[in-house]
Amino acid sequence: MNAKTSEWIDVGAEADIPLRGARVVRSAAGDIAVFRAADGSVFALRDRCPHKGGPLSQGIVHGHGVTCPLHNWVISLETGEAQGADHGCTPKIPVQRLDGRILLDAQAIARLAVPHG
């Protein structure tokens, strides 16, 4: 059990992220965008749009999606996939919510550092 929980990293409180908003977690593997949807659910994606690398954390959050601030691609928060006619995907990082805290999957973050991981 200990081995299991140690794989989750606490990155902050849910309340630190505005509803329909996002915050950035800086990591050695690159920036991670942590989103909080209107319904309170929390998602994490690599903070790079699959189109031109725009910072998704700066986009407008609507439903379970975010619109990239650079060229208006809409990315699903649930899958990291581009929606509509656009194609591309940004890596998704599994999230756990525990007593108001947000935990990210350490392994998934580590994999971000590996090209094509």
Partner: protein, 817 residues
């Protein structure tokens, strides 16, 4: 043959219609001169209530713009009250001394509102509800908020009450009779109406006999006979109208309640017609538009020599124009011995229907809550059809006749050609279908233009669309309005109108009330809604930063690498050693990679890291600089040349004026960015003629230009008007900006807005109609009182701190495998 001279006194809807018919029948028969006591063109008085409630503007209700009078060769004297008709000399004379002779004269002097002569009726703050000036006075009074008392619970009184409430006042309606609108409604429907009005927060006091209006310098309240006192900052009397027949009486014409006319609409002098609310025909006077338009048609035909044309009063129908309350009444619905009635009550749905029959013929109908069958009942009333065959199901409406539930299209298809579709303008179904076929019409606007159907109060629009659909089949798409985005079928204009009409004051309220299809909108609609709410409810609506595009959320411009650019304001393009030194220091301190001079005469610092933004702003603030809003859908720059201070060609202080404009306008949010410029002479070194708003200084003052563009599209500006002073210039520019703020669709630049709504309507609102300009200006000033707060200083002080710092920083975790 020489043209005869026709003089018309009055420029309301009835004479407007008569002239339209006349020009249709005999375009060259008469030289026409109109005297209008109101200082404006002909407008649709029925739609004053939507103007008062903010759902429409004056431009929306104009029937004949200035161009129409010019095109028809009509001499229109605006603001000329006629003081004398000399029948012996066949002349009329206005108060300004203008004397014009006539061969034929039309008196269309309308009516005056009845003023109850209680003590205090002349106090300032006591108004009537009759024309646009009254509406403006009410809107002005409502701006201060406070309490209003409306005396009169008829059609006009209730519309006034709803309008004043929409403008933010607390409203009480006083009505002498036991139930509201007793002339159009039976007591049961009057009760339902009262409940609906009260549920909107308007207090209704029936059987209220006004004893006096209290106050010394201005109105403070209303006291009733029973001792009740209602405090009031504004009292509106809407108790009825009285034909305005004074002029006719002075001229020796026969006058009873109104100017007495025979069925050919001629007064006791056969060369003088009387028309509209001032006329009395068959012992009746008329206030609803349908009979007045009938009169107009008779006058036009008589003027062209058709002696058979005759007016006979018909049954009429009325509809209350208060958003959210559906009420329709037609014909004669008073109780009497020889009458029977069929009543349907459905209190849960708030529906009440009552049909009045006499000898198996429908003679009256009152519908509340569900008025869809109103025109069908009205058609049967007018045609006097024997309904014995459908008596069992009659009250359920047209859809239930013939056994099975028909779809609405079938109901319209079943209407005979002579069924009236548009009551205001007397347009029947056959006329619409014939015009569609003859002229190949394909849109509602085209049908409106060619038939006048749905061109007045608009309540028959749905029916007209169904008739068009019947004629054109599936190729007609009434939903040709471009929806805002995939989250709604409503277009921008509908959403804006409904925000005001339903008083929606938050994004969730809009989405709930207007049936948004998504849970919280999208990146297209949310910023638009956020802007509309800021514009429509200044000081009340709290900006939703999560619905702002990133640039407006963090008050800097995002760049392709995720860094930001920072542009401080330089008023009119002026800067100083102190400012430049502070900028240089900031560049060094934060290692800002690029510094560039912009096209708008300011300095752009590019490549600032997001976390550094508050510290950069703090240093710039200390040197006296604020945000240049280079990211905003709002006022950007006011570019200037050096003007009379330095330039040998300068005619005015263009730099000074530019600074004044910028200091007055900064901080305002607009549908899309607004760039301005002021040039000191027609050499135009500030390039003012490709800006959203530009000023060219000339010897005699300031030429104001607008609707230019120099981006994706290139457009030279158009001249809006000329101002003599800097103050007038600023007032016009602010009014123009406010009109754009209120009418523009989100992301629609001024030149596109101007093209859509028409340059003429904009000129009318901010140049010709100085009262309207002032109202717009005042609204802009009110909005600015909440907008001129430097967003940089706010964030330096700690606002939205979460925006500028990461939530956390991690090392590289070790992969477990």
């Amino acid at each position: 043959m020489a043209k005869q001279k026709l003089v018309v006194i009055g420029n309301g809807m009835a004479p407007g219609r008569a002239l339209e018919k006349l020009f249709e029948l005999a375009p060259d028969a008469y030289d026409v001169t109109i005297f209008n006591a109101e200082p404006r063109v002909n407008y649709d008085r029925i739609l004053l209530s939507p103007v008062l409630s903010g759902e429409k503007s004056f431009d929306d209700i104009i029937i004949h713009g200035d161009a129409w009078y010019i095109e028809k060769g009509i001499t229109l004297h605006k603001g000329h009250k006629v003081t004398e008709v000399n029948r012996a000399a066949r002349t009329v004379t206005s108060e300004h001394g203008e004397t014009v002779s006539y061969d034929r004269l039309i008196l269309a002097t309308g009516s005056n509102p009845v003023i109850i002569p209680v003590p205090g009726h002349a106090l300032p703050g006591v108004l009537t509800y009759r024309d646009l000036d009254d509406v403006h006075a009410m809107m002005l009074a409502a701006k201060a908020g406070g309490k209003a008392v409306v005396i009169g619970g008829g059609l006009l009184g209730l519309e006034a009450a709803a309008g004043l409430q929409a403008q933010g006042m607390e409203v009480v309606v006083l009505h002498l009779m036991p139930t509201l609108m007793e002339r159009q409604l039976d007591p049961a429907a009057g009760y339902l109406l009262q409940k609906a009005v009260e549920s909107r927060g308007i207090k209704v006091h029936c059987k209220a006999n006004t004893h006096e209006i209290t106050g010394t310098d201005r109105v403070t309240g209303v006291r009733l006979d029973d001792g009740t006192v209602y405090p009031a900052d504004l009292v509106v009397m809407a108790v009825g109208i009285r034909p305005n027949a004074g002029l006719a009486k002075a001229a020796g014409l026969e006058v009873n309640r109104g100017i007495v006319v025979s069925p050919d609409m001629r007064s006791s002098d056969p060369d003088i017609f009387a028309l509209g609310e001032c006329a009395e025909a068959s012992g009746q006077v008329f206030g609803l538009v349908a009979p007045l338009y009938d009169m107009a048609g008779v006058v036009a035909r008589q003027l062209t020599g058709d002696a058979t044309a005759a007016f006979s009063p018909q049954a009429t129908a009325t509809k209350l124009k208060v958003t959210g309350i559906d009420l329709y009444s037609a014909g004669d619905f008073a109780d009497a011995k020889d009458r029977e009635e069929i009543v349907l009550r459905d209190p849960m749905r708030g529906v009440y229907k009552r049909l009045v029959l006499k000898d198996n013929i429908l003679i009256g109908a009152v519908l509340y809550g569900d008025t869809g069958d109103g025109p069908w009942f009205f058609d049967m009333i007018k045609r006097g059809i024997d309904i014995s065959g459908m008596r069992e199901t009659l009250i359920f409406g047209q859809g239930y006749q013939g056994g099975s539930l028909a779809d609405p299209m079938a109901a319209v298809a079943a209407l005979p050609d002579e069924a009236e579709i548009c009551g205001c303008n007397g347009v029947c179904k056959g006329k619409i279908t014939t015009k569609i076929a003859e002229l190949g019409l394909t849109s509602l606007d085209a049908v409106r233009a060619h038939t006048k159907a749905s061109a007045s109060c608009g309540s028959c629009t749905g029916l007209v669309e169904q008739v068009i659909r019947l004629s054109l089949g599936e190729s007609y798409n009434p939903a040709a309005v471009q929806p805002m985005c995939g989250c709604t079928d409503l277009g921008h204009d509908d959403v804006r109108r409904l925000i005001k009409a339903k008083e929606l004051k938050s994004i969730p309220a809009i989405m709930q009330e207007l049936g948004w299809k998504t849970s919280c909108g999208c990146a297209k609609c949310r910023p638009a809604l956020n802007y509309y709410l800021i514009c429509d409810w200044p000081g009340e609506y709290a900006d939703d930063s999560q619905s702002r595009y990133i640039n407006e959320r963090v008050h800097a411009n995002i760049q392709k690498d995720g860094t930001y650019s920072v542009v401080p304001r330089m008023w009119g393009g002026l800067t100083s050693a102190k400012e430049l030194r502070a900028i240089a220091d900031v560049v060094d301190k934060f290692a800002i990679p690029t510094v560039k001079v912009t096209g708008g005469q300011r300095i752009d610092l590019l490549g600032v890291k997001k976390e550094d933004l508050p510290a950069v702003w703090s240093d710039l603030n200390l040197a006296g600089m604020i945000s240049g809003a280079a990211y905003a859908k709002g006022l950007r720059t006011v570019k200037t040349c050096v003007g009379t201070d330095w330039c040998r060609f300068g005619t005015q202080d263009s730099t000074g004026l530019g600074v004044k404009i910028e200091k007055f306008m900064w901080g305002s949010w607009t549908p899309a960015k607004v760039k301005m410029a002021v040039s000191g002479c027609p050499r135009n070194c500030a390039e003012a003629t490709c800006k959203d708003v530009g000023v060219i200084c000339v010897d005699s003052g300031y030429e104001i230009h607008f609707a230019g563009a120099a981006g994706l599209d290139i457009h030279g500006t158009q001249v809006l008007g000329h101002a003599r002073t800097e103050e007038e210039t600023i007032e016009i520019i602010a009014a123009l900006t406010q009109l754009y703020r209120e009418q523009g669709r989100y992301l629609e630049r001024i030149y596109k807005w101007a093209k859509r709504v028409g340059t003429d309507s904009i000129k009318r609102a901010v140049i010709e109609d100085t009262a309207r300009r002032r109202v717009l200006f005042d609204r802009f000033v009110l909005s600015q009182s909440y907008a001129q707060i430097d967003p940089w200083a706010e964030r330096v002080a700690g606002k939205d701190a979460h925006e500028f710092a990461p939530i956390g920083t991690l090392g590289l975790p070790q992969a477990a495998e």
